[in-house]
Symmetry: C2
Subunit: 109 residues, 2 copies
């Protein structure tokens, strides 16, 4: 990995949410996924801003879906990982895991 393109913490979170959601990833579900797994109640604007930045870096791509026959069911913007995004995510997960490995929680603080 060339230096300088490490993922930010929130970018990593959003990419992980995409990975879990598969073909049902759009603003609202992404936010829910993060909240459900981490307990962190993120702002929806933060999610979209980050998705835009990820797309600008070619780590994600998006398409507009069809409206659904539900009250307020307007068309969604679906997001997915690109191959490059999947690679960056794997790399970044590997990095954090190797930092976590072997920690002795008992001796901290």
């Amino acid at each position: 990995m060339p230096k300088g393109d490490a993922l930010g913490g929130f970018e990593q979170l959003v990419l992980l949410a995409l990975a879990h959601l598969g073909d049902n990833a759009y603003g609202v579900t992404i936010r829910q996924e993060i909240a459900a797994r981490t307990g962190r109640d993120v702002n929806i604007g933060a999610v979209y801003a980050t998705l835009d930045r990820l797309e600008a870096k070619s780590l994600t791509r998006s398409r507009t879906g069809e409206p659904t026959a539900l009250r307020g069911g307007r068309a969604k913007r679906y997001f997915e990982l690109t191959a490059e995004g999947a690679r960056a995510l794997e790399e970044s997960v590997r990095a954090i895991e190797s930092m976590i490995r072997g920690l002795n929680w008992g001796e901290l603080g």
Copy 2:
């Protein structure tokens, strides 16, 4: 966790390095620990800047050690986690682990 005090990605990395290094954590070794585990060649200035911010948030504390009898062996500034820092780190590791759990790498990209 009260909203707003989530750790940044690099802050988390630095705290993890502290956790591994125990009583031998100072600028140079912290940098080495991160590089050795992640392959990421971080800038020393970035490390100190982050340590200062962590200390401002009471997640770490520091003290100045004794000079050593080595060429260039000037006094080091040692860093360690506070109890609060250890808690924040555990919390943040738990969050990322629950985001990683159950991922199916094969279906990405």
